[in-house]
Symmetry: C2
């Protein structure tokens, strides 16, 4: 029987489409597009913190890459290359500090299928990696390209800018709550929440379309309020959100404000561009909702008001993934 | 007391020298040097497999980056940017699947000191990272640049090429054997072997100088014979090594052939360039030893002969790091 290292080599070595030298040497060789800036990001996914032990392998392969693609979307970059480092438990009988079941060949194949489904969706070449034994974890590094000076950063918001969110963040957190028995969802919400959790869509098309429109952007991984907080801190501004404007109500609204792991985009744009942003959402078939405005004020301060103007800002902004 | 995440932010956020946007956004922004190819590599270091639990933090910080810099050296690239993803045990009292002591502030500071000592030595900007809780592991991605078409690859060796090695590989494996009680070293060998193990020198200067000279190159991480095997497989050729030519004897020679973790360079070059390679070693103050030749033959085949011509090829080529 082939070792898991041979299986990984078998399932993860594929023809590249825009890479001078892929997997198999001390490093990969790529030719950056002349005149572009390169955008790079690295993300760890650790079992128990970022994914549950029993997550479907194909879903996990997809999500492992998708959360990284989302970082490119949030910068307005076109994702082009990725590297995957995997820590996988050793087969039975081998010494290991922290025991966990070794991946089966079927598991590795399914993980690869999900990973490459995401790579194909976004035109990404896998150009490098590393495999070692240990408690299950994945580290992806992704590289994208953007016209120079045009990347969507967190520090560009201006007073008076509208604050926008794509899709319906919060669904992934509700899906997780259902799986963990903290809530009970019924169809059709259940399916849409589980899809949001297991097969998040990176908003690459939206990010690219926002170049020249958005003043700042971030993807929602830690929760809407927490991630808006990052924009406010880096832009040295405050924000005001209106409950009636949020694209959810009740428990879904709480999840929208605090739940992470959705990878929708949160962005700001000059209020004069409101119509342009709405038209863009229609063109992309993706709901874009104006949820508030950037205001001058104590940097990082964030107020949420209900219909009667009452301050209902939650005490806890963040989302601590699977803890 | 600051959390370990705040400590990491404090110790790992430094001014960059050649980066448009560093740590703190969804991705870093860099401007590739026009006309260069980019070389990229990612490496995992997992406790128990790649480093011992009680390794000095500063040494570990150095080595975590140095083994990645070595991949750039092996490609003949100039290292320029790095990203660091760290998995670190949670503080006491927090849930964790696999318990290990949390890093102290002093540990994190010392690790950062070693990491940046290596970054400064090679002119590398740290441009991104991620931190999560779990069993200790590090994943570094490194980016370098090389003139187009000139990178030192594994697949370029030609029949008749000389095979060269830098320095004295095997010392790191001997140092480890000493620490694990499998051998006893005396001074001055002990110090040089422990330095080779804990503070490996990436041969960046040599790699750059070999552009246009070497036909193939690799860094010795898995062991001289195993890594030479990679060149042979990818170049579809065989090799003949001569015991009297090896820069070591006795147990040191066994370690030289099988021991990994030294990060010296192994390379091939046309025999007509032998004099040029020797002169290069003198100019760099780094011993370069011709240990054999590439020959036509069964791809991947490797023969080691002693002074009397007897075949003394070891059965086991590899080095399984710390197992």
């Amino acid at each position: 029987m082939p070792s898991e290292f041979e299986l990984i080599e078998r399932y993860f070595t594929r023809r590249t489409s825009h890479t001078a030298l892929g997997i198999g040497d001390d490093g990969a060789l790529i030719a950056p597009t002349p005149g572009c800036e390169m955008v790079i990001s690295t993300d760890l996914l650790v079992e128990g913190t970022h994914f549950l032990a029993d997550t479907d392998a194909e879903d996990l392969g997809w999500k492992t890459l998708a959360v990284n693609v989302s970082d490119m979307a949030a910068m307005g970059a076109r994702p082009r290359w990725a590297l995957l480092a995997a820590v996988l438990p050793a087969p039975e009988g081998e010494a290991q500090a922290c025991k966990a079941p070794a991946p089966t060949p079927e598991w590795i194949e399914a993980f690869a299928r999900g990973f490459f489904a995401c790579a194909d969706e976004f035109g990404i070449d896998l150009i490098g990696g590393d495999t070692t034994r240990g408690p299950r974890a994945f580290c992806v590094t992704i590289l994208g390209e953007v016209p120079p000076g045009q990347a969507l950063r967190r520090d560009g918001a201006k007073p008076g800018d509208s604050i926008w969110v794509s899709g319906w963040p919060g669904r992934a957190a509700l899906g997780l709550a259902h799986l963990q028995g903290r809530t009970v969802l019924a169809e059709p919400a259940l399916t849409s929440c589980l899809v949001a959790l297991h097969r998040p869509q990176a908003r690459v098309g939206l990010g690219l379309a926002l170049l020249g429109i958005a003043s700042a952007a971030i993807d929602i991984s830690d929760g809407l309020l927490a991630d808006l907080g990052h924009i406010l801190e880096q832009s040295q501004l405050a924000a005001s959100l209106q409950i009636p404007d949020l694209p959810a109500a009740g428990p879904e609204r709480d999840a929208l404000l605090a739940g992470g792991d959705d990878y929708e985009l949160l962005f700001t744009a000059a209020a004069a561009l409101d119509g342009k942003v709405l038209a863009l959402g229609e063109a992309l078939g993706l709901p874009l909702t104006r949820i508030g405005a950037i205001v001058a004020g104590t940097p990082g301060e964030l107020a949420v008001n209900d219909a009667s103007g009452r301050d209902v800002t939650p005490a806890i902004r963040g989302y601590d993934h699977f803890r």
